[in-house]
């Protein structure tokens, strides 16, 4: 069966718990026949979570993740964590979902009679036990451990009197949850799942302690398993690297109400109040995600001029041209547009998610481009912003500086592409960029980024030596000369993107490391950096410099780099070429369109 066919079937089934069970069976068959590698997920609980394994499988599948689930034995979560079976399974992620202060517990029913110190020590011991078991788990596995916090059922015995009560259960639970969160805030292995918050969002009243609590100790009603699976899947998406990077948007009836080509600028609905407010909020939410690092693109059937009129002239457009990495606004079919967008932005189709009000368009993309995720756009435009907020495809474990800057960087790239397509030749294009590089000896501040560059750079890397901060520190104390390069142009800052490490040999100096980030290649910065360093070495009396090329699967493009920059090959072995340049004939000729070390 084709993936898109199965995807449709699973999408239909995954809305109910019984459907998930049947879906999971189909997925298992599919995975087995395709010998697909499955990720390992474990779920432990102190109550019955039957159906969660199947619901997780179904939801994971819809996110292109295939999983095998280890369900801990009923009532044995502590034994599982202390035993061997769980770890023999070799889980990559362990979910610990607990409800131990529930309506049937002693604490719930007698907290109002307990002295403060007794409640205090109850929660202290509760947390201590979790911490101890998590420590045991951390010693036995590198799996991510997701621990649920404590859920407060809301209708406590003291009711509104809790406000004045010293022994308020609600307050103690909140405090315990805060401590739990604080304990692991800097821990990269343990994550806290706000079960209390999520249940508040879904509704504790309708979803907890139903009849199946009595029939099967299902403290969460079985109907909520698909929703819980969707929530927990956010962790799978983040941990297994399936986060979507790019939101592709339609225009008419998606970013504004109406059709610009028919209704005209004053006829479309988009406003902070009244008609069109839901589109205004949707745009606000989209922008917030963009500022979180999500790349934006447009795929719309429209006349370019009509669409641009809205961007340029409508008073309430929150999204502007500079927020979009690429646009395909034309009368071509949307599938072809998608392929072009993916190529232009240089990301995979499987990194994209599509938001379009038209179910026919969504179905078409789902059918022909199954790798593209489809945002579940509700028929009611009032629910658009919710659909985006509830979407789990963008889940990441940590929000970094690079995420923050990603949006601007993609727009800067799109601007560079635009002037490149208008330039008559490479040099005039480069001239138009106002390139400026700054080459500096390595410092304490730039050490970490330099080490990171040696670890991450694969393509323009002559020797691919991977170094830690300690290694580079050693080089410095051994008299190596190390330069870092940062670059910017008129569209934006590329940051620190180049490194050259030169070491003194018996007679001559040798270039141990020479690398540059992909994003600054093709702008003649490579040669300028090398020549600057050679010039510095020459000025201290160095006569000859050696350069090595060590072949890897990814650095083929630099095999002849030294050859192109005036070196001569003096030795060649299986995977290694040694080049040499005689500095007595060398003269540094800086290119006039790249400013060096000028602020």
């Amino acid at each position: 069966m084709e993936t898109s066919q199965l995807k449709k079937i699973i999408q239909e089934k995954a809305t109910s718990i019984a459907g998930c069970v049947s879906a999971a069976a189909e997925i298992d068959k599919y995975a087995e026949s395709g010998k697909i590698n499955r990720k390992k997920v474990a779920v432990l609980s102190n109550f019955t979570l039957n159906g969660i394994a199947e619901a997780l499988k179904a939801n994971a599948f819809l996110n292109n993740i295939f999983i095998d689930v280890y369900s801990g034995n009923y009532g044995q979560w502590q034994q599982e964590l202390m035993g061997n079976n769980l770890y023999d399974f070799e889980p990559e992620i362990i979910f610990l979902i607990l409800d131990r202060c529930g309506v049937d517990s002693d604490i719930y029913n007698s907290y109002h009679l307990m002295p403060e110190d007794e409640i205090e020590s109850y929660f202290k011991n509760y947390l201590a036990e979790i911490y101890k078991l998590v420590d045991v788990a951390k010693e036995k596995t590198k799996a991510k451990i997701v621990v649920s916090n404590i859920s407060d059922f809301w209708s406590n015995i003291l009711g509104i009197a809790e406000g004045r009560a010293k022994n308020s259960l609600w307050r103690y639970i909140k405090r315990a949850n805060l401590s739990l969160e604080q304990k692991y805030v800097n821990d990269h292995q343990v994550l806290i799942f706000d079960l209390d918050g999520w249940l508040g969002y879904k509704g504790k009243e309708q979803n907890m302690y139903g009849k199946f609590f009595f029939l099967a100790d299902m403290r969460l009603n079985p109907e909520i398993m698909p929703a819980l699976a969707k929530e927990l899947c956010a962790y799978l998406i983040a941990v297994f690297g399936k986060s979507k990077k790019c939101l592709v948007l339609d225009l008419d009836n998606t970013l504004w109400g109406g059709i610009i080509g028919e209704d005209g600028l004053s006829g479309i609905s988009l406003a902070p109040h009244g008609t069109g407010q839901e589109f205004y909020l949707f745009q606000k939410t989209i922008l917030a995600f963009h500022r979180r690092g999500i790349i934006l693109a447009i795929n719309s059937k429209n006349n370019w001029e009509d669409a641009m009129e809205v961007f340029e002239k409508h008073p309430h457009m929150i999204l502007k041209r500079e927020h979009f990495a690429a646009m395909r606004i034309n009368w071509q079919d949307k599938i072809a547009n998608f392929r072009e967008l993916a190529e232009e932005i240089n990301i995979g189709l499987d990194s994209m998610v599509f938001a379009d009000d038209d179910p026919a368009n969504r179905a078409m993309v789902n059918e022909f481009l199954p790798e593209v995720d489809i945002l579940d756009m509700p028929g009611d435009t009032a629910l658009y912003f919710k659909a985006l907020l509830d979407y789990k495809g963008f889940s990441i474990l940590e929000f970094t500086e690079e995420d923050k800057k990603r949006g601007e960087m993609y727009f800067a790239e799109s601007q560079r592409r635009e002037i490149k397509s208008q330039a008559t030749d490479l040099d005039s294009f480069l001239r138009g960029l106002d390139l400026a590089i700054s080459i500096e000896p390595i410092s304490e501040l730039t050490l970490p980024r330099a080490a990171q560059l040696t670890q991450k750079t694969n393509q323009f890397n002559l020797t691919t030596c991977r170094y830690q901060v300690e290694d580079i520190k050693n080089f410095i104390s051994n008299g190596y000369k190390i330069w870092t390069l940062s670059a910017k142009d008129r569209f934006g800052n590329y940051g620190m993107t180049g490194l050259l490490i030169a070491r003194k040999g018996k007679e001559n100096w040798a270039i141990d490391t020479f690398l540059l980030s992909c994003r600054i290649l093709g702008k003649k910065i490579e040669e300028q950096f090398l020549n600057y360093a050679l010039n510095e070495l020459k000025s201290t009396g160095v006569k000859k410099v050696l350069g090595e090329y060590i072949a890897t699967k990814k650095n083929g493009q630099v095999k002849d780099f030294y050859g192109r920059t005036g070196f001569k090959k003096i030795n060649s072995e299986e995977n290694k070429d040694v080049w040499q340049v005689d500095l007595s004939n060398f003269e540094f000729k800086p290119l006039d369109f790249i400013a060096i070390n000028q602020n």
């Binding site: 109910s16 718990i17 019984a18 069970v21 049947s22 039957n50 159906g51 009849k211 199946f212 009595f214 029939l215 099967a216 299902m218 079985p222 109907e223």
Partner: protein, 80 residues
């Protein structure tokens, strides 16, 4: 076969994997191997979803066979 009966038998077929033709009022956990406690739970949740009804704990416990399911559905004004 009434509409509701068809719906019920299809539901049982989906969850238990037994052919619709083999289902009658006497079909029960005793004579269907796949009707274990987990699938009993699935049947109960699916019935509520498909027939848009909410059963009490007593109604759920009282079910010993398909005939009992039909009794419960009739109590919820379903024509079966």
């Amino acid at each position: 076969m009434k509409e509701a009966e068809k719906k019920l038998y299809n539901l049982l077929n989906r969850i238990l994997g037994i052919p619709v033709k083999s289902i009658n009022d006497k079909t029960a956990p005793e004579n269907v191997e796949s009707w274990d406690s987990f699938n009993g739970l699935m049947i109960a949740t699916e019935l509520e979803r498909v027939f848009e009804a909410t059963f009490t704990i007593d109604e759920v416990i009282s079910v010993k066979n398909v005939g009992d399911i039909k009794k419960n559905l009739r109590n919820h004004k379903i024509d079966i």
